[in-house]
């Protein structure tokens, strides 16, 4: 009860207070002081202190409040931890306020005194409270925040003390909210690794022997919905451990599948692709390859593709078409395998085999049409005009007036062949840099693409963004040129455009190519897919 009340009081104490300072309130401060002085520095002081602080904090009268608290401390002979904490809190808020209001004269003239007061008051608050006390943790937290904001050499030491304090606190504390609050605060400062240590303590508290797995799962789902993926994953890990330690761990696979799907790539919503892959791998180790069905293998492959883990995606797509050759995803997977092998892994023959498989199918599919185009293009690039023309002609014949965008590209290629002109220059340089051995240094490490969304409907907008890491150029931005090629839909981006928006009229997997040039030549290339439904 004491901890709960203290938590409430101190939480409110950190907020900007909303009451107004009025003459009446000033009059009542005498009565408040008397109450504080008459109290035993126990829980009864907290609401009184809150009432006293409110008008000062609201009007940023930190000096007056500090004087007030210090006068009380003198009378209490410094032996009141919560007064010490509040004195430090006042100076902490004051420094923040001076920074926000750019009150630099006071900040620099008095700042060191205020800092000394913060450190001294918090030391007394920590010394005056037992390890398992809420105020002890809050004082350590404030001390760490202070050093963290200062970015001084005591930052690490204060954080270690805080974590040690929380560890001690967790041994006896019934109230876990403070532990999470500390972890959230550390995470908000960008200390992900250290916040995980506290989250782990929090999860251990949550996952005591008597906690039911379903409660654990629900907690993990709640954190997922809040967007706190670190915590969600920690709780899911604890949930997974519980299931794995159960006698019938194979039965836990459907649960794991649900978790993997939750974190897998999706265009909107929370996702953590490496975590999803970790769960997919776990499923495989627990239930064997058969534990993943058609939908799950595709999901895994797609997740790996969006992580740009191309070898992983290649293996997963290959497994999909091997185990489920009639899958509704088989043609898309086969086409993507063709592109990954050809342009990413630089294995043109390996990739062509997949394109041929699709091209030879009797049915007419977007992927079959795109494969014919790819086969024509690869032959045209190699100077095999007759073969290229044959593939292009077959495409026109099979398309039967559909797939207008691919047909349009094909007509352009056919025109080049018929008029004896070279391949479109942007395609030519992209293929040269993707397929020629001497250009193997262009391995997509310095240029990349990201699309939004990756799965779109016909006619809806797709944003295509690129990023490139050019060489050393100091404060000068290197002038980059962007040579876009492939399936660009309804857009014709210019070479100055690093980004563009487009849309597609036809379904199927579209391949977007990019070659980035610097003034001295090629920087790198990039490629990405978008699936149009």
């Amino acid at each position: 009860m004491k901890s709960t009340r203290l938590a409430l009081v101190l939480f409110i104490g950190t907020l900007n207070f909303t009451l107004c300072l009025s003459a009446q309130a000033e009059d009542s401060s005498v009565a408040l002081s008397k109450k504080i002085m008459d109290s035993q520095c126990d829980a009864s002081i907290y609401p009184v202190l809150e009432e006293a602080a409110s008008p000062y904090f609201k009007d940023h009268k930190y000096n007056e409040y500090s004087e007030y608290i210090n006068s009380l401390l003198k009378q209490k002979k410094d032996a009141c931890p919560v007064l010490n904490y509040n004195a430090a809190l006042a100076r902490f808020n004051q420094l923040k306020y001076l920074e926000e209001s750019q009150g630099w004269d006071e900040y620099f003239a008095q700042g060191n005194d205020y800092r000394d007061q913060i450190v001294s008051n918090l030391a007394k608050a920590i010394e005056g409270t037992p390890a398992g006390d809420t105020l002890n943790i809050r004082s350590r937290l404030l001390l760490w925040q202070f050093h963290r904001d200062q970015q001084d050499v005591f930052n690490e030491e204060a954080l270690n003390d805080l974590i040690a304090g929380v560890t001690e606190y967790a041994k006896s504390a019934q109230d876990t909210a403070l532990i999470k609050e500390v972890a959230d605060k550390i995470a908000a400062y960008g200390e992900k690794g250290r916040s995980k240590e506290i989250y782990r303590i929090y999860v251990e508290k949550l996952t005591g022997a008597d906690v039911k797995p379903e409660d654990l799962k629900q907690a993990a789902l709640n954190f997922y919905k809040e967007g706190n993926l670190d915590l969600s994953e920690s709780v899911f890990d604890a949930y997974i451990d519980k299931l794995l330690n159960s006698p019938e761990k194979e039965r836990s696979v459907p649960e794991f599948l649900e978790i993997a799907a939750l974190f897998s790539y999706k265009d909107t919503g929370n996702k953590d692709m490496p975590y999803a892959e970790k769960i997919f791998a776990l499923i495989e180790s627990v239930g064997g390859k058969e534990a993943l069905g058609e939908e799950q293998i595709y999901l895994r492959a797609f997740n790996l593709e969006k992580s740009k883990d191309w070898p992983g995606a290649k293996d997963a797509y290959a497994e999909l078409i091997e185990r489920y050759p009639e899958s509704k995803y088989a043609q898309r997977a086969t086409f993507k395998l063709g592109v990954i092998y050809t342009y990413i892994l630089r294995d043109k023959d390996g990739g062509s085999n997949y394109f041929v498989k699709l091209a030879e199918k009797d049915n007419i599919s977007p992927e079959g049409i795109s494969s014919l185009y790819q086969l024509g293009l690869l032959n045209q690039w190699q100077g095999e005009s007759a073969k290229a023309k044959a593939y292009y002609s077959k495409l026109i014949e099979k398309a039967q007036g559909k797939f207008s965008e691919t047909q349009s590209l094909t007509n352009s290629r056919l025109k080049e062949i018929e008029e004896g002109k070279p391949l479109d220059s942007k395609l030519q340089v992209f293929l040269d840099n993707s397929l020629k051995e001497e250009n193997s240094q262009f391995n997509m490490s310095r240029a990349s693409l990201s699309l939004n969304p990756y799965s779109a409907n016909m006619g809806s907008e797709v944003a295509v963004n690129s990023s490139a890491i050019s060489g050393a150029s100091g404060c000068m931005q290197v002038e980059l040129q962007y040579l876009w090629s492939g399936d660009l839909g309804g857009s014709s981006p210019q070479s100055a455009q690093a980004n563009f928006n487009t849309s597609y009229k036809d379904p199927g997997t579209k391949v977007i190519n990019l070659l980035v040039l610097v003034p001295s030549g090629t920087l790198d290339r990039a490629l990405d897919f978008v699936d149009i439904e």
Binding site: S467, G474, C475, M476, E479
Partner: protein, 374 residues
Amino acid sequence: MIAGGKPYIIKGVCYNPVPAGQNFDFDWWSDKSKPWLADGELMRQMGVNTIRLYQSHEDLNEVRLVIRELYEKFGIRTVIGDWLGFWEYPCPFYGDKAFQDKVKKNVLEMVVALKDEPGVLFWVMGNENNYSCLGHVNPWSSDEIDKEPDAQKQKAMRAKIYYSFVNDIAKEIHKIDPNHPVALGNGELVGLEFAKDYCPDIDIVACIIYRGKTFGNLFKSLKMTYDRPVFIAEFGADAYDVFAGKEDQNMQAFFLESQWRQIYANLYNNKSGEGNCIGGSVFEWADEWWKHNPSDSEAWKAHDTEGGWTNGSYYYDIKVEGGKNMNEEWFGIVALSEQMEQGTNKRIPRKAYYVIREFWKNPYLALKKKGNKK
């Protein structure tokens, strides 16, 4: 470094007082409001003892007046540079003898005109011109370079031409003015392996370094590659967090204090460092509102908040979409107000101004405090 017969630590700022609404063409040298006087007083109060000018002006009498007034009124010395034609259209033809002669003539005229000014500290040749040798920015070539198919060899050929040219100028300056050192303005350490061979007559290496809150192993690396006294000619941090979409004076101040601490730790006779640093000039004294969009006169009137270039070492806003986190218009340690004062934009010192002032008051105490736990 010795100046005026005393050991001298360069506590400098890069200086280019372009008012809001103007661009790089603005002739501040002949500005009747004499912005350097108000700035000089603010600098004096802060502890600045040196300004760095990137380029002199065609009227060298006006340049002389600025140097003289800053020195006589505020005790502030001037490091003065020359772009060496880096921004000439369409590119700096360093491989062309006529171009070289023209650039050299301008530099030597400046030296002749200003060498006897007591406020002159030394000369800086170029700024980040070395990046053009890589072919990424302001690329230039020659017939001989064009014939070379190997891109790496092309870079080496450009570096040889450029650094030999700078050394040639340094030699000529020494003949005219034996009293002031000549520095090589160089972006990072890029190309200094060539300078080692082709620039024996350079006295100081003036590096332009943007590595975030520290200079990393810079001082040690320089000893290994091009062992000269080091002047950190340009460094700093912008005061705008483009990811958060707001000014962040705290982060700028934190970075600058950290950078100055490292400069001091590597000064001569400081056993904790390499002992090869002579000081630095922070980029920059005041914001310049024209820099994000130099060709749009309307944009010069506004303080642009869009990032202009990318540097991951300034980690606090690198997550911005597209990665352009560096706000070129926000590097000032004093901001410009639209309110006019003494004929120019009123200066509003940022937190960094005060932080550096406090650091300079007692840098060794600050070093000890930051370096040792209680």
